[in-house]
């Protein structure tokens, strides 16, 4: 059984007890535990089920590489699936549950997959279930969906908050082991701005566990001194619980700080995503031990030898009473020695190497531990827990020589440097045959904006697995980083780390080397995704030669652990199957993040009210208090209508339209873009920008204009007012202001930079209020301050003065067809003027109206709307706007494009009005049907609806649409398809439905 030892545990405080629950069972751990160590201390080795076969699974590792120990963690608003128990710090009241099983962890119906495993080989998704076709939908897919998937989806809104933080440093050191600490010391002493981040809550990495001494003292003493020195440097920042998640172009890196995962509900943000820009990045990310591939290597109780050591040394937890060690290297002997020292039984060390003779081997032998060289494990006995191992000759086919009872197996297949962060941004690897691993190739480091290498690997992440070399490499990395930045590295003796010497390891990719099919089917490579040696071999036989293809076909390394344990073993098996060298086969691509990071951290502040900017006009609060029903227009919120008690939206819109046409309406038009264009060349510039002539507009007058892009397509429209000889104010569509302003600046800066024109986006300087309807003039005259009579202020003119005591510019323009004034006042006066208009307008029957009434009224008048009648493929000529396209100008933006053959094709769809025969309303976007079908068997079309409304004025449906040769076909009746498969008939008519001669707006 796994249990808490009586003594030891460098990270725990035995006196601080921490209660938690697992699958509802109350358990107890101590402060400093991880969830994994606490579960193991309670003999809970079985923690989950595998993804495909639902095999029972226990902890394999003790850190970020753990593939099995995933739990549903937390409750309510703090529930989160797939949390690694090995990287979850225990806190009082933690609640977690195992996942991926039904009905219970101990008894899982899905495990029926196990015996059927032979029918679920690599690529089974692609081949086994394809035929017969109907079975896929009705049998296979529901079955797979039921049995697949990890964890549960959170049901409640996330209770926590998250944030980002931008940091700029000279040197970012990722990894707080001895190499990282020394690198930070070296860089910090040189005066560089240094940020050192460590993913766990503790500094020092593996050195204290592995019995390393530094300068003659235990590693822990040196680590404490190093930390003290670093804390004393003002230019160095230290951060634990902060994982280097990714390294990106130009020295960008993400640090994932788990601020409050271990103290949920305190006032702190749960996670902080550090967006770091570093001139140099040192990846001191350590190394990960590889499993060995023997039959039954996934049975709970089989663990990495280093993990067994971690549990004993860090948390005083013994994974088993009798632990067999199986290895191909000397390092795993440390596990045997440590277990023996802790008073536990090590029945045997099974060493696959023909001979073993290093100091650690000698020490084990001297301690009386049985060492079997040239041997391997034929298979592990047990189901939900290891009960023993069967020995065989490593060189043979698996004939059992002996069975050894045990309840744990500590395996070691050698170590692989964590090269992920080195590789994220293009760092290349080199194969180290001696250590049988890929390590960073310093000649091919990722390069930055200046072409210089910006990532430096250090310590065991750089292939220096021995403590002495790792520490020296960390020092060299720190110094090399600062030197490359032009700083002088300070001298000083490099601390000397010492550990027992190690003899050479021997690569072992399969145990035993001649294992037959039965055994290979039980050798797991990827624990989480249930990929076995036999699957990779099958893929190779089926022709998958590329490691990237094999990965996707078998799903090797595609689980949440991204193959941290399985990657090298899998590609070694593949290369053997292909008869190729490992470096020839290569690795799959390492992509960020290193381990999964929360969506909350990625979103940061962008959630809830600050999910995206919401733009409010100066009168926003009034609209809110007066029952506005909102419509998003770009990022603006505009009132769609103002429903009164018991009124539907449709009724409200109808009332607002009728009242505006008959009495008086008030519209908040502040969202309209307002761009000032000024300079001696302003007229010339606007002549290029708009399709019509603007340079001959008289000061005091307004003119409607169309703006196209260089493709000829209509992009914006609006009224231009000439302020004085050199100054124009260009109105744009709501939400168009920023991009039209950018469009203007683009042409001014990049094409006509010798033209003397300045622009300023004044959109938000003004609140703009449209006073619309037969009583519009009455209201303004009542408020007084300036002459708004037809003589002083005729249609399409503007004038400046005061309205109700507010400095204002009044434009006599109309988008409704009614008598209309648009009044612009400083935004700080907007609400005050609006309220004055509302109260003074009472006697004239004033009602505010929203965007829908605006739309209905403009459609009744046949006025186009950018975004409705246009979609980025429509030219002004399509919309019958020839009157607004100058014939006199040699050039304007889009003119040449409008001469292209396709643009002058008479077959183009063109704007018409549409009147349904029955008075009904055409569906939005409906297509006009044409005879026959196209090559794809779809019905041919000859037009589409662009705007469609019920007109309260005409008491019938009206629509605008683009129809093939439309204007030539007045009076013709065409059919429109509706969503329910029926059709509606509509007559092609003039697009102006109301007041064709414009008499009402011109009074």
């Amino acid at each position: 059984m796994s249990t808490r030892l009586q003594t030891g545990g460098r990270l725990i405080d035995r006196n601080a007890r921490r209660g938690f629950t697992f699958n509802g069972r109350r358990l107890e751990g101590v402060a400093g535990d991880t969830l994994a160590s606490a579960l193991l201390a309670n003999d809970q080795m079985l923690v989950g089920r595998s993804f495909k076969y639902h095999r029972p699974r226990g902890f394999v590792a003790a850190g970020a590489e753990e593939p099995n120990g995933l739990v549903n963690l937390g409750t309510g608003g703090r529930f989160e699936p797939n949390q690694r128990a090995t990287t979850t710090e225990l806190f009082d009241g933690l609640a977690c549950a195992s996942q991926n099983h039904w009905p219970s962890l101990d008894f899982d119906i899905g495990a029926v997959n196990g015996p059927l495993a032979r029918f679920l080989p690599a690529g089974f998704y692609y081949k086994t279930f394809i035929q017969p076709r109907p079975f896929w939908k009705h049998v296979y897919e529901p079955f797979i969906r039921q049995s697949a998937g990890l964890g549960q989806v959170p049901a409640e809104r996330d209770a926590d908050r998250y944030e980002h933080f931008y940091a700029f440093v000279d040197v970012l050191v990722i990894g707080g082991g001895i190499a990282g600490l020394q690198a930070a010391l070296a860089a910090g002493r040189a005066g560089a701005r240094v940020l050192l981040i460590e993913q766990t809550a503790h500094w020092g990495g593996r050195a204290p566990v592995d019995g390393v001494t530094i300068d003659g003292h235990p590693a822990e003493a040196w680590i404490a001194r190093a930390l003290k020195a670093l804390e004393g440097m003002e230019n160095v920042t230290l951060r634990t619980r902060c994982m280097g998640a990714g390294v990106y172009d130009h020295g960008y890196a993400l640090g994932y700080e788990r601020v409050a995962d271990h103290s949920p509900g305190d006032t702190r943000p749960r996670h902080r995503l550090w967006k770091i820009r570093a001139a140099r990045i040192i990846t001191a990310t350590g190394a990960i031990e590889r499993p060995l591939s023997f039959a039954g290597n996934d049975i709970p109780g089989v663990m990495l030898a280093s993990a067994v050591r971690d549990y004993v040394a860090n948390w005083a937890v013994s994974p088993g009473d009798r632990t067999v060690v199986v290895t191909n290297n000397d390092d795993a002997y440390r596990t045997a020695l440590m277990l023996r020292e802790a008073g536990l039984v090590v029945p045997a060390i099974i060493d696959a190497r023909p001979t073993a003779s290093g100091p650690l081997v000698r020490a084990a032998r001297e301690a009386g531990i049985r060492v079997e060289t040239g041997r391997g494990i034929a298979r592990v006995k047990g189901a939900k827990r290891v009960t023993g191992v069967a020995l065989c000759a490593q060189a043979g086919e698996g004939a059992v020589l002996e069975e050894i009872p045990c309840d744990a197996v500590a395996m070691s297949g050698g170590w692989s440097p964590v090269v992920h962060l080195w590789s994220h941004c293009g760092g290349k690897l080199t194969w180290d045959a001696g250590q049988a691993h890929f390590r960073p190739d310093p000649e091919r480091a990722p390069t930055s904006h200046d072409g210089a290498p910006f990532v430096i690997a250090a310590g065991s992440a750089n292939g220096y697995l021995l403590a002495g070399e790792a520490l020296a490499d960390g020092d060299a990395a720190g110094k090399s980083a600062v030197r490359s930045l032009g700083m002088a590295a300070k001298g000083g003796a490099v601390p000397k780390a010492e550990a027992e010497a190690e003899g050479p390891m021997t690569p072992v990719w399969m145990m035993p080397q001649g294992a037959g099919a039965e055994l290979r089917m039980k050798m797991w490579l990827d624990y989480q995704n249930d990929v076995k040696v036999s699957d990779v071999q099958l893929a190779a036989r089926e022709g998958y030669e590329s490691v990237e293809h094999t990965k996707r076909y078998t799903t090797l390394g595609m689980a949440t652990d991204q193959g941290k344990l399985s990657n090298i073993n899998g590609l070694a098996v593949l290369s053997q199957s292909l008869g190729a060298d490992i470096p020839q086969v290569g690795t799959t691509t390492f992509r960020p993040p290193y381990t999964p990071i929360s969506f909350g951290a990625i979103a940061g502040e962008a959630r809830g009210d600050t999910f995206q900017p919401l733009r409010r006009t100066p009168m926003h609060r009034w609209h809110e208090e007066n029952g506005a029903d909102w419509e998003p227009v770009g990022q603006w919120r505009r009132p769609y209508c103002y429903p009164r008690d018991g009124e539907s939206r449709e009724d409200a819109v109808g009332r607002e339209v009728k009242n505006t046409r008959q009495n008086l309406g008030l519209l908040d038009a502040s969202t309209l873009g307002k761009i000032l264009v000024k300079g001696p060349d302003a007229g010339r510039f606007l002549d290029m920008l708009y399709t019509n002539m603007m340079s001959n507009l008289k000061p005091g007058k307004c003119r409607y204009g169309l703006m196209c892009n260089e493709n000829g397509f209509l992009m914006d429209d609006g009224v231009v007012a000439r302020i004085d000889e050199e100054t124009f104010l260009c109105h744009t569509t709501s939400g168009g202001a920023e991009h039209i302003h950018a469009h203007m600046e683009d042409w001014l800066q990049c094409e006509w930079w010798d033209w003397r024109v300045y622009t300023a986006n004044l959109t938000e300087q003004f609140a703009q209020i449209a006073v619309v309807g037969p009583h519009a003039r009455d209201l303004l005259e009542k408020l007084g301050g300036m002459d708004v009579g037809a003589g002083a202020l005729p249609f399409m003119a503007w004038s400046e003065g005061e309205i109700a005591g507010v400095r204002a510019r009044v434009y006599r323009i109309s988008f409704s067809g009614e008598l209309s004034y648009e009044i612009a006042v400083p935004a700080s006066q907007g609400l005050a003027l609006w309220e004055k208009l509302v109260s003074a307008g009472e006697e004239f029957g004033l009602m505010p109206y929203g965007t829908e009434a605006l739309h209905v009224m403009r459609a009744e008048k046949g006025f186009i709307m950018i975004g409705d009648e246009t979609d980025g493929t429509v030219i002004p000529q399509d919309l019958g706007l020839h009157w607004a396209i100058s014939k006199k100008k040699d050039d304007y933006i889009g003119k040449r494009a409008q001469q292209r053959a396709h643009m002058v094709d008479p077959e183009r769809w063109q704007l018409v009005g549409l009147e349904t025969l029955g008075g009904g309303v055409l569906p939005e976007g409906a297509y006009a049907l044409a005879p026959d079908q196209n090559a794809n068997g779809q019905r041919n079309t000859q037009g589409r609806v662009t705007s469609t409304y019920y007109s309260p004025t005409l008491e019938r449906g009206i629509a605008l649409g683009l129809v093939r040769r439309g204007p030539e076909r007045m009076g013709e009746i065409i059919e429109f398809a509706t969503l329910d498969g029926t059709t509606m008939s509509a007559k092609i008519v003039d697009p102006v439905f109301y007041d064709k001669d414009g008499e009402k707006q011109n009074v």
Binding site: Y248, H250, S448, H449, G451, D746, K895, R896, A897
Partner: protein, 109 residues
């Protein structure tokens, strides 16, 4: 994520402050141009693996356009200069040559 030096305001701006504007140094063809000229102006773009000249706007900063000489394969930036420049300045071309002898872009080399 790129960092580009804005030659107008002097800020080393990260990509999120910038707006891309596509290939630089296009010659505009308007009315009177042939179909082939106009097609080339409107649609034909370089797509090099290596040295490229691109327009960027410091959209969240000073609002000015500039041109970056950049390697599309390594993301190395050889230099940035104001958009009010008809052709890549000599110092930029020299900087590219120093790093990538034998480079070519359109009719430049």
């Amino acid at each position: 994520m790129l960092i580009l030096h804005c030659p107008h305001c002097g800020v080393d701006a990260e990509e999120t402050e910038l707006a891309p504007g596509g290939e630089a140094h296009l010659k505009r063809f308007g009315p009177g141009s042939s179909d082939a000229e106009f097609e080339s102006y409107l649609f034909h773009r370089e797509n090099p693996r290596g040295v490229h000249f691109e327009r960027w706007r410091h959209a969240f900063g000073c609002g000015k356009w500039f041109i970056a000489a950049r390697a599309t394969d390594t993301l190395e930036v050889f230099g940035t200069y104001r958009a009010q420049t008809a052709a890549p300045p000599q110092d930029i071309r020299d900087a590219i040559t120093a790093k990538r002898p034998g480079w070519a872009w359109r009719d430049l080399a």
